[in-house]
Symmetry: C2
């Protein structure tokens, strides 16, 4: 029986994780749940999975929750300290880190520092402070387990092979809803259009990141740290059908890839039960019926966020944290219809240009860069409006 | 330094193996070479690679060779016994078994019985007596290493994962030169047309086997024994571009596949240097430039050899040996223009129908079934002519 903690339990990844727990009640037990503000969803999860402890980042939401479930023995914490306390709970066997955006960094790093085993479903912490997270994990004799479908694919394509024989890591990208649109058309893109991902049903933030392809940029940065891979060996390949989740090429010309129908339960369950696979028994992958898989080289002109990500990776230090924060603020403004789709990249570009990158020596360096970038990006958005 | 023995050194696989030896002279040394009748090619190989011992199955060819290279210290053996002696040489680190057709069975099994490590590039021995070969290998504490591109792909897609989690093994097939032809058109197929494989440059026998798709049938039987996999879990998928060499589906829905440009040096070198990969550094696999990979379900109506193979596997005992022998005789007759393309399957079908399958308890059982099937198939061909 594995004791699971889910950071971000009311999001899309959190729900899929709890699906798996419900399917295999003899293998997993929910020890702790963390959410931001969704006290009603969390209440439902408490009543179904009976965790020992939960935390809501929002203290008001926590008060509402406490008032409603007085009869349950669950301990309800709140605020940043409450979130960290659940993340570091000493009885956990696995912490699934799935808080959307940079907010996941502090509790995830805290869990790693506390020697907890962490499976990472949100990429932002790795983007903001990948080197620190890996150093901390090594110090604790742990490795950070990937959950993102591309990184799970890369992990599965290296298992059983020698890391030193790797020549290239190729992350596939669907190209998002605007792959066939001109820059002019993207200039007119509505929020509704940007939220139509061709293959995956995900949260709003990551869906917009897929439309700008910043999602792939962030994944490149994440892969750099997860697999200790030089940026020159990391490539992007457009693959419209999202069936091949990523590929690893070795120096003898052999390429290992992981494929599957788009279903996050596969990589989540792999992380939860590694090295054994759970008998999810989904429909078989019928390539004969699918008929074809298509591929294109990436287009850095129409999707400049890809370039921004490579630049941030090359620049190093706090630059990826700046990139990530500017992106979060810009996407949030787009979701609130404060800026147009193509303004997202402009806001990020201007924020990066206005930033002085610093060396990344501590969590505080990352958080400071994050804070400063958020302020600058907000300024640009307001001056723009 | 690994001491290599190549059974079938003057064939296509043998030549590719020697290519790799030439490229990595500090890693491999040629200890022994075996050929059938090609004394001139073998002479060239002796002068380049300086093996300690060679054998020619054909005694006359061996005499010619001896007469020509009196100055060399190489020991030249001949006949079936000479071939076995080289195959079992006690100083070898690896025996690459690449003799075309059923002729490879006796020396390959002898090498396994002598406790030699064997990499299998010819599928016929496994088809004829897979169970015996595996039992013998287990007894010697050895495993038989796959070299065929599909089986190497399967091996590479299971490495690092749990055999017991496998749900399906999917062998890809190009469909050969006649995939888009009707049965009527195949009835008119010339030898020249049948020898045009769309993706691989191989020997004549295996190229015709690709045109009838018996090659995939034999590979299914080979996979059954190499990976101890029930026939119901073995599937064929038509994949025209031969980029995905095979796939393994696990019970969580994850599919691992091995891909690459069609180049036998990749699987051969993997077998030669496992678990390390050799830096062959071939051109990278550029899926963006290739653009698409296409897939179709197999067509058992137009390619009845696939059915014959599944039937032989289900029937068990000596039936696969019968199938293989009938196929060899029929393909040979087609190569000699004695029969038409579609007669190949008729000859095999009639030979199987006229055979009484026996349990396979020993090498002799397999050889007897092989001999009887060859006689029957020849009779059908002559009565046909």
């Amino acid at each position: 029986m594995k004791n699971i903690i889910i950071l971000g339990s009311t999001g899309s990844i959190g729900a899929s994780t709890l699906d798996i727990v419900a399917k295999f009640p003899n293998r997993f037990s929910v020890l702790g749940l963390v959410a931001g503000t969704s006290d009603e969803k969390l209440e439902e999860q408490i009543r179904t999975f009976h965790p020992k402890v939960v935390a809501l980042a929002d203290a008001t939401a926590a008060r509402r929750l406490r008032a409603r479930i007085v009869e349950s023995p669950v301990e309800i914490l709140d605020g940043p300290q409450g979130v960290i306390e659940v993340a570091c709970h000493p009885e956990s066997d696995l912490v699934i880190s799935a808080i959307v955006g940079g907010a996941g960094l502090v509790p995830t790093l805290a869990a790693i520092r506390a020697g907890r085993r962490v499976a990472l479903a949100n990429k932002e912490p790795m983007v903001m402070a990948g080197q620190l997270m890996q150093e901390e994990a090594h110090r604790q004799g742990q490795s950070i387990f990937p959950v993102d479908s591309e990184h799970s694919a890369i992990f599965q394509s290296i298992e059983g092979h020698r890391r030193e024989d790797v020549r290239r890591i190729i992350l596939t990208a669907s190209g998002g809803p605007f792959w066939e649109h001109s820059l002019e058309e993207m200039g007119q893109a509505t929020l509704h259009q940007a939220l139509q991902h061709p293959n995956w049903k995900m949260g709003a933030k990551i869906t917009i990141d897929s439309a700008t392809m910043m999602n792939k940029g962030l994944e490149i940065i994440e892969a750099r740290w997860l697999f200790d891979c030089p940026p020159a060996q990391l490539e992007v390949l457009i693959h419209r059908e999202s069936i091949i989740h990523s590929l690893v090429e070795y120096r003898d010309g052999s390429v290992i890839a992981q494929l599957g129908l788009p279903d996050m339960r596969t990589p989540i369950s792999y992380a939860m039960n590694y090295p054994e696979r759970l008998p999810l028994e989904p429909p078989p992958l019928d390539l004969g019926a699918i008929g074809k898989l298509t591929f294109y080289p990436p287009d850095f002109e129409r999707f400049p966020c890809l370039n921004l990500a490579y630049e941030a990776l090359q620049g190093g230090g706090t630059l990826p944290a700046t990139l990530n924060a500017a992106n979060e603020v810009a996407v949030d403004a787009f979701l609130k219809k404060e800026i147009a789709f193509l303004d997202i990249v402009t806001v990020i570009r201007r924020t990066i240009d206005a930033s002085v990158p610093q060396p990344l020596r501590s969590l505080e360096d990352a958080l400071e860069a994050d804070q400063r970038a958020r302020e600058k990006a907000s300024q640009f958005i307001h001056s723009h409006a």
